[in-house]
């Protein structure tokens, strides 16, 4: 027991950050599951974070309500952004979402209400560890059930082949926007929770490198199943501590290892590290079990 207390004392905040990053990775997973490469999810987290933070600090809105407002605000922006940009494909979509993210970041720097470059200060530390993991559990459950719903199959079809999906009767614009909006909602929620974890949020935390990090979490973990990004985010967030544990302390080397892991995964494990845990042929069968079909 002493050992466990000690563990939480040392790694308590790491565990919180893992949780937030897991949620952010899950938000990108939803978008990726419909085949859409978004680099805007960090900005959605920023929108959620700033919205919630401003509401609690300046308007005295209760915590849970502020979370909901942050997530909804991000979802609304995601919806409005998604409608025009989702006509674009592949890297063009990535770049449109990226420039959106930059505009959001620059706006946060220049606006009064967001506190400018110094960041938004004074959010009480309402977000507790158990709550983060409760939200992860709920979101994870939601995503696992979503996977084999009508929307889930549509996402899957669009990712595999958008043209074939539309010929099958799938309204691709609708479902892409839906995936984008759900992703924005989750990102906004994570951002709102993050804002109440750290006392301060700054525009730089939601910029391009944050967006790329989320993508890396999803790729390293594996973006075909919802628990892939969970694993990726947990591993990479904990990586500095793990590396320290095995004696790697110098900064550049940690960075190098980060890049190397990503390279190895993309070259040899296109479905992410999570595919190491999955048995090959079983995949097909267990997928159906998850749909509740195998029970009868």
């Amino acid at each position: 027991m002493v050992h466990l207390t000690y563990f939480f004392a040392v790694y308590g905040s790491l565990i919180n950050f893992i949780g937030i990053n897991v949620l952010l990775a899950l938000s990108l997973y939803v978008t990726l599951s419909a085949g859409q490469l978004s680099l805007g999810n960090a900005a959605f987290a920023g929108i959620g974070g700033y919205t919630a933070g401003i509401l609690t600090t300046q308007f005295g809105v209760p915590y849970l309500l502020s979370l909901l407002a942050g997530a909804l605000m991000a979802a609304i922006v995601g919806f409005l952004l998604g409608m025009p940009v989702l006509r674009l494909r592949g890297v063009f979509l990535a770049m449109a979402t990226l420039s959106f993210g930059e505009v959001v970041r620059i706006a946060a720097i220049n606006l009064k209400i967001t506190g400018g470059a110094e960041g938004l200060l004074g959010m009480p530390a309402y977000t507790k560890t158990w709550f983060i993991y409760l939200v992860i559990a709920v979101v994870g459950y939601f995503l696992s059930r979503l996977r084999y719903s009508r929307a889930g199959w549509s996402f899957e079809s669009i990712r595999e082949d958008e043209t074939a999906a539309s010929a099958m009767g799938i309204n691709t614009i609708y479902y892409k926007t839906l995936a984008f909006t759900i992703g924005a909602f989750i990102a906004g929620l994570a951002g709102a929770m993050y804002a109440h974890l750290n006392y301060i949020i700054t525009p730089g935390e939601f910029g391009f490198s944050a967006a790329v990090n989320l993508l890396i979490y999803c790729i390293v973990g594996g973006s075909r199943v919802w628990y892939g990004p969970v694993f990726g985010a947990a591993l990479l967030t904990a990586l500095p501590e793990i590396l320290r544990g095995i004696g790697v302390t110098a900064g550049p080397i940690r960075m190098f290892v980060n890049g190397l892991i990503l390279l190895i995964v993309i070259l040899f494990l296109p479905n992410g590290l999570i595919s190491l845990f999955q048995r090959r042929r079983k995949v097909a069968v267990s997928v159906l079990a998850g749909a509740g079909i195998g029970d009868n």
């Binding site: 220049n110 750290n198 730089g204 904990a238 500095p240 544990g245 302390t249 110098a250």
Partner: protein
Amino acid sequence: MQKNKQMMWMGIAVLMSLTLLLTVSTEFAAAAGKEAKIGLAFSMTGAAAGYGSTQKNGVQLAVDEINAAAGADGLKLIPIFDDDASTPQQGVNVFNKFINADKVSLIIGPTLSNTAQVSNRIAQQAGVPVLGISNTAKGITEIGDFIFRNSLTEMVVIPNTVKVAKEKLKISKVAVLYGNDDAFTKAGYEAFKIALQGAGITIINEQTFAKGDRDFSPQLTQIKSQNPDAIVVSALVEEASGIVSQARKLDIPKSVPIIGGNGFNSPGLMKNAGDAAEGVIVGAAWNTSSSSSLNRKFVEAYNNKYGSLPDQFAAQAYAGVYIAYQALSKAPSPDNHKAIRDALAQIKGMNTVLGNFSFTDGRDADYIPVVQIVKDGKFAIFGE
């Protein structure tokens, strides 16, 4: 539900292996008789990596000197360096490790104010003293009574600079150029603005840039067209040297001086801006050219050890270790954080490379800042 079971096991396995790795990674070092561990959280990677590396150099130099002088019986310092990666997240992780795993007596750092805003709260809660050596933002020491800093804020340095510059240069209208996406440069800008208004100097043009920018010619061209008496710049040294050299390349005459704050106080300014740096006026928290024996010894030792001249970050780091050491020596035991804190708070009139150093009641640095001018590739006291 076969899949769920499989997943659950997988999840447990992952969690367990993570736990194991993390626990194994933290060894309990037995503290020997007269030793004090200090945690040093600096940015080794990320945006502030440039400052973190000189801070580390400054600390290492001071620690080596102290440990050599301590002899067999004296109190020795065990420095534990870690990388805050220029992010609040990593900063907090490092602080947690310092406090709970390494059980340090005191923490020096982190490099950036934004990180300090978050990480210092952890230390305050745990009752472990923190000495900031480069945090200049508002509200850092207000976090609590365990938070100190030896870095003079822009609010202290800049009014003095403006006052001296006005007296000596008779300027009445200036243009301002500042980095608007960085807490440090933005705070510098606010300080300049207040000081300039207080001194009755008109700001005829305000321009901004972003971190990482290299091209400042559009802003400088705009400024040049308004013929200011001087250009006031709030920037860190990377951008500062670029601004200075491009201003001269754009033919803004040397009769229009450039005035900067703490961010300019680095030999990097002369190294990277070259001749263009001549005549730049730098208000700063450390007098590079101070002839005090302590300072001369520091500059020389630093140059010998690292082959380059120290900047203000190194000087503040160096001074920080000595300040911390004084407090640690007075405390009955290195575990007694409360006593260390009290000893820190009582430091008054201590002779450091920064000058005659005291902490204010608000645990901020209190000593006299300097106004320097670049002359023959070196900083000299302005007006002497």
